[in-house]
C-alpha cells in the first residue's frame, strides 16, 4: 500500500477528503483490503462521535419519512459494490469541469453507430455550454441534470435505477408549476446504463422526475417518481 495514500484513511472516514483526491483513494481502496478494514474501523469510530449527538428529531419527521418510504422501491443487493466501504463520491463543484469532461468522454466512447452522432453532439453541446449548470440528485447512484438556458435545453443522465418489471419503461418528466411534461423515455445502454435524454427546457421547470411507466410511456406520470431532482 502506498504510505501517502494510506494516511488518507482517517480523513476519508470523516468525509474530509476533497472530491478529486477521494476518487483516487477509492480506486486505491479497491485493491487494498487492509485500508478498507481501517476505513471501516475509523467509520465505526466516527459513528461513536455521531451517536454522542443523538437528539430527538421533530416528531413530524417520522410520519413524513414512513409515508415516503411506503412509496419508495428498494434496490436489489449489490453485486459489485462493497457496501458502506467503497462509496461513489459525488463530484463536487471544485471538480465540475473534470466531471463534465468525463461525461462527454463517456458519451463519446459509447457511440458506435453513426445514427447516434447527431443527438450525442447535441448532448455534448449542452454539457459544454458556457452557462451549463449541473445538479446532482441526492440519491446514491446519482442522476445528473445539466441545463443550459442559452440553448434552452436540458440533459438528464439517469443514475443507477431499480430493475424494471416486464413491460415497463422509465420516463423522464420536467416538472414545474404547470405540471409534468415528458422529456422522453430512458433507452438502455448496457446492463446498468441508460442513454442521456435531451429535451427542450420549458420555462419554470424546477424539478426533474423519473417514473416507471407502461411500455411506450404515458402522457402524464401515473406512479410516484423513483428519482426526483430539485433544480432550485
Amino acid at each position: 500500500m502506498t504510505a501517502e495514500l494510506h494516511t488518507l484513511t482517517g480523513a476519508y472516514a470523516l468525509d474530509a477528503v476533497p472530491a478529486d483526491e477521494a476518487a483516487a483513494f477509492e480506486r486505491h481502496l479497491r485493491g487494498c483490503p487492509a485500508c478498507g478494514q481501517e476505513v471501516q474501523e475509523l467509520q465505526e469510530t466516527a459513528a461513536r462521535l455521531g451517536r454522542a449527538l443523538a437528539t430527538a428529531p421533530p416528531p413530524r419527521l417520522r410520519e413524513a419519512t414512513l409515508t415516503r418510504v411506503a412509496h419508495t422501491r428498494q434496490w436489489p443487493p449489490s453485486i459489485a459494490r462493497r457496501g458502506g466501504v467503497v462509496k461513489t463520491r459525488v463530484a463536487l463543484w471544485g471538480a465540475a469541469a473534470a466531471a463534465v469532461g468525463a461525461l462527454v468522454f463517456g458519451l463519446v466512447t459509447t457511440t458506435t453507430e453513426p445514427a447516434q452522432q447527431q443527438p450525442l453532439a447535441a448532448v455534448n453541446a449542452v454539457l459544454t455550454a458556457p452557462d451549463a449548470s449541473t445538479v446532482k440528485g441526492a440519491e446514491r447512484g446519482t442522476t445528473t441534470v445539466v441545463t443550459s438556458r442559452s440553448q434552452g435545453k436540458i440533459v438528464v443522465l439517469a443514475g443507477e435505477l431499480p430493475p424494471l418489471a416486464a413491460g415497463k419503461v422509465y420516463q423522464v418528466w420536467l416538472i414545474g408549476a404547470s405540471g409534468a411534461r415528458s422529456a422522453g423515455l430512458l433507452a438502455p445502454d448496457g446492463p446498468h446504463r441508460t442513454r442521456p435524454v435531451l429535451a427542450d427546457l420549458p420555462g419554470g421547470t424546477d424539478r426533474v422526475g423519473i417514473t416507471a411507466e407502461p411500455a411506450g410511456g404515458s402522457p402524464a406520470p401515473t406512479v410516484p417518481a423513483v428519482v426526483m431532482v430539485d433544480l432550485a
Partner: protein
Amino acid sequence: MVEGVRTSPRGSGGTGTEPAGTSLMQRVAAGDEQAFADLYDVVAGPVWGVVNRVVRNGTFAEEVTQEVLVEVWRTAARFKPGKGSTLAWVLTIAHRRAVDRVRSHQAALDRDDRAGRLDFRRPFDEVAESTISNLEQQRVRQCLSALTDLQRESVVLAYYNGYTYPEVAEVLDTAPGTVKTRIRDGLIRLRDCLGVGQ
C-alpha cells in the same frame, strides 16, 4: 427490545445495535415497513443529531435527515452485517449526505463566515439537555480530551463541522499533510479508547 438499543452500553463492539439491529436490517431489506418504523426509532435520533450539527439549518436538516432514512430503506439490501454495525452504516450515510449538502449549498459562503462559526467545545454543550446519550457523550468527551490539541481540533472540525482536511489546515494554520496524519492518529486513538472493534 428496540428502544433499549439506543442507549444500552453493550459490551463488545460498543455501538450496541448488533443483535436487534442486524435482524431488523434483514427485515427492512426484505421490504418490511414495520421493521423500518422500528429501525427509524433506533437511528433517527443519532441521524438527526449528526445532520443538524453539520448542516446547521433546521429546514435543510429535516430534508437531509429524511433523505438519509429513505436511502437506508432503499439500499438496505446492500448492508453487510459482517462489515460493521447498522448504526455506523447509517451514520456514515448521514454524515456524507450532510457534508454534501453543506458543500454544495454553502459553496458560496465565504471562508470568513465559516471560520466565524468555529468553536470546538460547542458540539456537546448544544445537546447537553439530551437525556438519551449522556453516558455516550461523557465517554466520547473523555476520549477526545486524551488526544493532543491538534488531533482533537482536526477530528472535531472535520467531523462536526464538515470541513475537508485542507480546510481544517487553513483554519488551524497548519500544513495539510500534518492535519491529514493527525486526523488518522486521532481517530486511531479514539478507536482504541472507545473500544471499537474489540
